[in-house]
Symmetry: C2
């Protein structure tokens, strides 16, 4: 990113008709948008598009989720029909929604808005071996890169991450455990809502997956293939692709953050292109966001996924850019400065 453009934004913000620093984190957002764009003022990050990457998980067979696996397909169709919560929220903020089948177990129909990029019909059970082969993982990463490129080519200037996949908080917890070197019992959460017994079981599943595959952070691609999911791999590509295209991305919750940890390990400077839309109720979310040294824009106990938290943060990112583009300076507005 362009540190001179960031500095130019910071300098300009001192001249806007407000006390220095009084827009708090919004000022950091504006400066980061400038650094990303390589220019001041930054372009308005509009229009925005949400990419919802969808996949199934072999580890579902271990009983880590109370939801049947078929719900992944049903929810994909619900998003496409505009009835899912993330669809509703995206409509509210004027964001386009792209849905990508990167690894759903069932076959999906041809539907407007659905991109068919299935690598396989769900991952393998990661407690028995790698969830993906290295080749499958590479293919899923490429899907994410392609989607970022397509959405930017279509004129989008802000991207948001979304995901769908029953049981996908389990691989997310495994990735966060590996990449932040935190015990599984600390990072593993209740996902969509499980009881104490299922949580204890889920923790043991995460531990087993990491151990069986000997997943370690110093071999990030191997770890991603071993304990990740197709949505996670696609998100890694999406995040790196967006960074390569100098396009800002708003991260949703724990699935996005776990993928971001992998992407940051592969390319540390890419973090400069990402905003943490929110911190979710999953413990791994806060850990991952802190590890990435990002500050979440929202903290509302969301734990839905689908991109819902990222979409809710879009107006904040756009507002930050608008302020530095349209706000009056002391000079232009004829407002006196501080006495000093």
């Amino acid at each position: 990113v362009d540190e001179a453009a960031r500095a130019a934004c910071d300098e300009h913000q001192l001249r806007l008709t407000k006390p220095a620093g009084s827009l708090g984190e919004l000022e950091n957002v504006a400066a980061k948008l400038s650094a990303i764009a390589g220019t001041f003022p930054p372009p308005l990050p509009e229009p925005a598009a949400l990419a919802v990457f969808c996949g199934d998980h072999g580890v579902h067979a271990q009983g880590v989720s109370p939801w049947p696996q078929a719900v992944t397909t049903q929810m994909v169709l619900n998003v496409l029909a505009g009835g899912a919560m993330t669809s509703v929220l995206a409509r509210g903020v004027g964001a386009e929604v792209a849905v990508i089948d990167v690894g759903v177990a069932q076959d999906l129909p041809q539907t407007p808005g659905l991109m068919h990029r299935k690598v396989a019909a769900g991952t393998a059970d990661m407690t028995l071996g790698p969830a993906m082969t290295q080749e499958q993982c590479r293919q899923a990463i490429e899907v994410g890169i392609d989607v970022a490129r397509d959405l930017v080519a279509q004129g989008n200037r802000l991207l948001a991450t979304g995901d769908l996949g029953i049981a996908n908080t389990t691989p997310s917890a495994a990735l966060v455990a590996v990449f932040t070197q935190t015990p599984a019992r600390v990072v593993t959460g209740r996902g969509t809502g499980i009881d104490d017994a299922m949580l204890a079981h889920k923790i043991s599943v995460v531990e087993r997956a990491i151990e069986v595959n000997d997943a370690t952070a110093d071999q990030p691609l191997a770890a991603l293939a071993a304990v990740g999911g197709f949505e996670h791999a696609a998100l890694v590509g999406f995040l790196l692709g967006a960074a390569a295209l100098r396009t800002p991305v708003v991260l949703d919750g724990v699935i996005a953050a776990s993928a971001a940890l992998v992407a940051a390990r592969l390319s540390p400077p890419a973090v400069d292109y990402w905003f943490a839309g929110h911190v979710s109720a999953e413990p791994a979310s806060r850990l991952a966001v802190a590890d990435l040294e990002l500050r979440p824009l929202l903290d509302l106990d969301l734990r839905l996924g689908e991109g819902s938290g990222a979409v809710l943060a879009i107006p904040l990112v756009q507002g930050a850019a608008r302020v530095v583009r349209e706000g009056a300076t002391f000079e232009s507005a004829g407002v006196a400065g501080r006495d000093e």
Copy 2:
């Protein structure tokens, strides 16, 4: 508010295609909107209008702010011209901005969008006696009631509070000290940005104002007149007026929250109509919001005032309503429930 409508919303949210409770605080917002409207689903809280109440403060003479008092007038004109940060942010979220002179020291020109309701040319110095007479305070409250009524009559379905007034964090701190029974040194903050010496002085000014006027929470109107400002009194009326009209209000930072403490003392059920848009960097903001038992929607270290934090929270409130109005249910979308 209508608890049956709140319960109907909560019940409906269990049927939406998402894990129970997974939209966190957004679900509480939706249920509260239902309770306010007395119906489920609640109407979309659109369009939204921001009311910026403007006044000057006699206590400015005590040297509690680094900014000249004339900046109040200059900033009023800046808001009206659309260049102030809050104007820019309001434009971004499609909110109308109404500016009300309820007590600016200087005369203001006839300008579109400016309502001339000046009660007096600034308050008196509260360290020497009451800031307002009881009659002035009553008049300012009426201005707020009138503005709420006018904005609702014009079709607005969500209101947001704003304020302008150099030195107005000083009366805000005094009000929060009185109404939360907290020492001045705890509630008093750096406002638009002051150094340690000026902060120590500001604390002593707040202490003196409370002591000189013998301001106590059990005489709320007398305390408001004694250590409040014209914007504060108008906000009290605005908040009570909106509640009487069953219209939700998003509170900005410490000025709004301090006025809300007074309004809540006068009419405790009115709190059910308010949302805390954010918690600001001023210590009194967090205290007041906690005392009101509201959960702030944003926590971004904003300390600008003008309504900026309230405006930023508007899309969250609107999103919450949209979800319960437009989201698909398990039944309507053909999505399976949990296995249990």
